[in-house]
């Protein structure tokens, strides 16, 4: 009898469950996804286009909506590069050097993941608000952090800073310092080592981290909500603008902006999938 080449799981008699088990598990997974992910997403777009394309684009072209879109992109454009630099340096320090307090640093990097974003926002209000620690000084120098762009950027940075570092640390730890040492022995200087040896080895992990960081930066609600002050056309980001419109029963407007936000998230996901699909091999090569 010829030996059949089969998929690993299906080929093992012990793991070959009866069809009803298989189908009900697959059905459960798909049903769950459909109910909790696909359906809401479809609803967002359905509601947004409820009254046709005209009102949809009108809602997006409204000055306050445009300002929210601009602000969101601006905040992401500042927070993501800053966290990129921070994430790379933190990952570099943690994976290439030995120093005291290293495990504390790793724990601190995870902090934004474990702390509620609302608390992050509150902290900045306490620090930089009118009655906060630095409040009087900031006021004396005519600087505004809370209820202004700096506050939004700070809150977004706090919430998103683990993404790049978290993606890079395991990758760089696994790669070790061997290639960097080889570069040193061949006479390369610090920057040359980074650009020519380290960066090419971590580029896919880095791209991953940036995409995730960006998705979160644009979608952040809690922390940003606390420091924003919800000033229409000035300090409202897209998620905040959606909430305001929704509370005013402007469903078409709310869902139109929400659909744009969802679209940005989808673009990020597609970009990530394209990266995986197009360079999957080299990604696997550098990751494992």
């Amino acid at each position: 009898m010829p030996i059949k080449a089969t998929a690993p799981v299906a080929g093992r008699p012990m793991l070959r469950d009866p069809p009803w088990v298989r189908w009900s598990l697959i059905g459960l997974a798909l049903g769950f996804l459909g109910l909790f992910v696909v359906l809401p997403l479809v609803t967002v777009f359905a509601q947004a286009l409820h009254s046709g394309f005209g009102p949809y684009f009108d809602a997006l072209a409204e000055p306050d909506a445009l300002s929210a879109i601009r602000l969101t992109l601006l905040v992401a454009a500042i927070a993501v590069p800053v966290n990129l630099v921070f994430g790379v340096s933190a990952a570099w320090a943690i994976s290439k050097f030995e120093f005291r307090g290293k495990s504390l640093l790793i724990t601190l990097i995870d902090l934004p993941f474990s702390v509620s974003p609302v608390i992050a926002g509150m902290v900045y209000v306490l620090l930089f608000g009118l009655h906060g620690w630095f409040g009087p000084w900031l006021r004396a120098h005519d600087l505004q952090v809370v209820f202004a762009l700096p506050g939004l950027v700070l809150a977004t940075m706090f919430v998103t800073f683990p993404f790049v570092a978290r993606e890079l640390i395991p990758l760089m730890q696994e790669q070790g310092v061997e290639e960097e040492e080889a570069a040193v022995s061949l006479g390369a200087r610090g920057w040359q080592i980074f650009w020519r040896v380290t960066l090419p080895n971590i580029r896919w992990g880095l791209l991953y981290g940036i995409l995730l960081c960006n998705a979160r930066a644009m979608g952040e609600f809690g922390a940003v909500s606390v420091v924003s002050g919800h000033i229409r056309g000035l300090t409202n980001t897209m998620p905040l603008h959606v909430e305001i419109l929704y509370n005013e029963y402007n469903f078409v407007g709310a869902f139109a902006v929400a659909s744009l936000l969802a679209l940005l998230a989808l673009v990020t996901l597609v970009a990530k999938s394209v990266v995986e699909w197009r360079w999957g091999d080299s990604l696997a090569g550098t990751r494992h």
Binding site: E178, E179, E181, A182, A183, L186, Q192, R196, N201
Partner: protein, 368 residues
Amino acid sequence: MTIKVSGICKRFGSFVALDRVELDVRSGELLALLGPSGSGKTTLLRILGGLERPDQGSLTFFGEAALGLTPRDRRVGFVFQHYSLFRHMTVFDNVAFGLDVQSRKVRPSRAVITEKVRTLLALVQLEPLADRYPSQLSGGQRQRVALARALAIEPRVLLLDEPFGALDAKVRKELRRWLRRLHDEMHITSVFVTHDQEEALELADRVVVMNRGRVEQVGIPSHVYNNPASPFVYDFLGNVNRFDCVIDAGVARVAGLPLAIPAVGMAPGPAVAFFRPHDVEITRLDLPANGDGAPTPEVARARVRHIFAIGPTARIELDLSGHPVEVVMDQDRLRGLGVGGGDWCGVRLIRGQLFRAGAVAATTTYQR
């Protein structure tokens, strides 16, 4: 003198990796740092290469203090144990790296670099693989890329860390011979680290035997092999039969054995006797030395446990009153003796060395 190491100490936490190491590397020689793992040989090599800083001591390169110099300024070529090739670069770019990163003032033109890399790849016989990536190469090929990459910067000294450690036996032998030839052609001062005594003895001009962060002995291979300076060196270089014995009145005796090893002029006390397998002789017992077949102080009775007879030499395992003894002799001579597994035979110790315990210098060479 190319490199002078004096009083170098290095600790990692409480572990002493190097303890007051003294070493001279001569111009143009191929020097082996030989020792078991943890003996400090790789740490010493990394200090020479500028990848590690010693806690104490001094290091000069061509008469110039080198500890403050970066690896670039020392101009050393380093070949890493696991090659450490740049995985995202082709073979060509790997070899060109050391030239590409030179400052603009010094860096040769693109054409010169290309020419030089081609020459080096031809030297290591890898020209056709210039566009491959390291992951597409075999271990031996990677090793040669690593060597070409290190040679590209025209180093004054070449340092190799376990250059053949990760290769299989056949490739290792080939590469060893090839490296020796290369060294004879280029005459670049080279230091390599190995834990394989055969490799060190076969390849090097001089061998430095290291143990627990200290240099035990330095010398040409034949001298180190024939005149080990310490029990450790004796034990580490090649197979050896070791007997713990006690010296009393100019004779060393092994407990439970009728052996008497001359120890003229040595102070009484515990000692260790070493005999290499080819310095032990097997005789027939039916030609007794003193008539009745009883053992003499020169010939002890032993039983043959196993005979491994593959190739021109035979390896015989004897049971000498409970002590295992290894003997190596010519196949033909063994056949002439007519001794087989389980037979009784006589054992004569031809040549050996006696070390007084605790005193490295107090040794005698014993020869019949």
